[in-house]
Amino acid sequence: MLTTSPIKLINGFVADPSNNTGQSEIVQVENGGYVDETKLETSSGHCPESAHQYENGNGRCFSKESESCSSSQASSEGGTLEMESELTVSSQREEEKAETNLKESSKPKILLVEDNKINIMVAKSMMKQLGHTMDIANNGVEAINAINRSSYDLVLMDVCMPVLDGLKATRLIRSYEESGNWNAAIEAGVDKEILENEQVCVRSTNRLPIIAMTANTLAESSEECYANGMDSFISKPVTLQKLRECLQQYLH
């Protein structure tokens, strides 16, 4: 069946057959390795790539305090924060609404909040191998807007990002969960109009699992993550095993 590169067994790693996401089947091949069948079917559309890319918005930097690791790249830019990607996501909006309505039966919605393109590429590919697709947000503001638009089952949140970092974004999301409104976010400078106009889904009463992806430096310590409302953390670099364990624990 396999005509190109053979299965790579590294350090005894095999895809754990008991570790089924419910969407993949593990079959054994002649060389003693295991292959995830969904990978073979991917090109035929078995796992359609439905990742929505939110364009990076310009905005004020919220990292006035020295403790925060939010990059100050945007500190010289003024103006309100808003998404510039209205045109690119509008055609996908219908699909999103339909998806929201079918939430009960459809696959889990995962949001990856990460600004580094290489990290995004690696994480997406890992998730694909685990049988999942992800939406992408490039900073905390885009994450908040995404969460406002759709109901997610899991958020993977990079800690250090420009515009609004992961710690602050998580605090604002938890505030929204507790209060039912985005006042704190608006106060922090997230675009009022977008938050007020774009709420298309009914807010879930379940706590949204937010997992930090941290470089484990002082500013990104696990204590900081928990203190800001994260449920758990994955230390970088992200590996297949770490993601698999995370999914096992937080997706049902």
Partner: protein, 154 residues
């Protein structure tokens, strides 16, 4: 050189990169993600890393070359390079970035200049080695062979 010899060369070459610490186990993670549905994944990610790193190193040279160095501009670049090099397993580049960031925090311009040189050196090294690796792979594929699996005793 026949196919078997080429494949052995590739394996030895790859192993040497790990033994020299130029690559770490994260690179193996990338290789695991390469398969029939994603046959060029490693070279795609690595190419993206090269493009991104070229840009960052250029920006860093500019930032550090200013009369008054703005560390608020320098540090995010180093942070990004540290992140992406870590993600692809470019261990020595990552380690050089860690040192660089410490000096950024201390706002030590002299030391940062030295760090930039060190990072550049490590980056050019890993880029050179990976380009050679991909060439070896291409030769094998062009000869109708398969890329042998990397087996290391980590």
């Amino acid at each position: 050189m026949d196919l078997v010899q080429m494949q052995k060369s590739l394996q030895d070459y790859t192993k040497s990169l790990f033994l020299e610490g130029i690559l770490d186990s994260q690179f193996l993670q990338l290789q695991q993600l390469q398969d029939e549905s994603n046959p060029d994944f490693v070279s795609q990610v690595v190419t993206l890393f090269f493009q991104d790193s070229d840009r960052i190193l250029n920006d860093l040279s500019l930032s550090l070359g200013q009369q008054v160095v703005d560390f608020k501009k320098v540090d995010p670049h180093v942070h990004q390079l540290k992140g992406s090099s870590s993600s692809i397993g470019a261990q020595r580049v990552k380690n050089a970035c860690v040192v660089f960031r410490n000096f950024c925090e201390q706002q030590n311009v002299e030391a940062c200049h030295r760090c930039l040189q060190q990072v550049k050196q490590e980056y050019y090294l890993v880029r050179n080695r990976l380009e050679t690796l991909f060439k070896l792979e291409q030769q094998i594929v062009a000869s109708g062979g398969m890329i042998p699996a990397v087996e290391l005793g980590f």
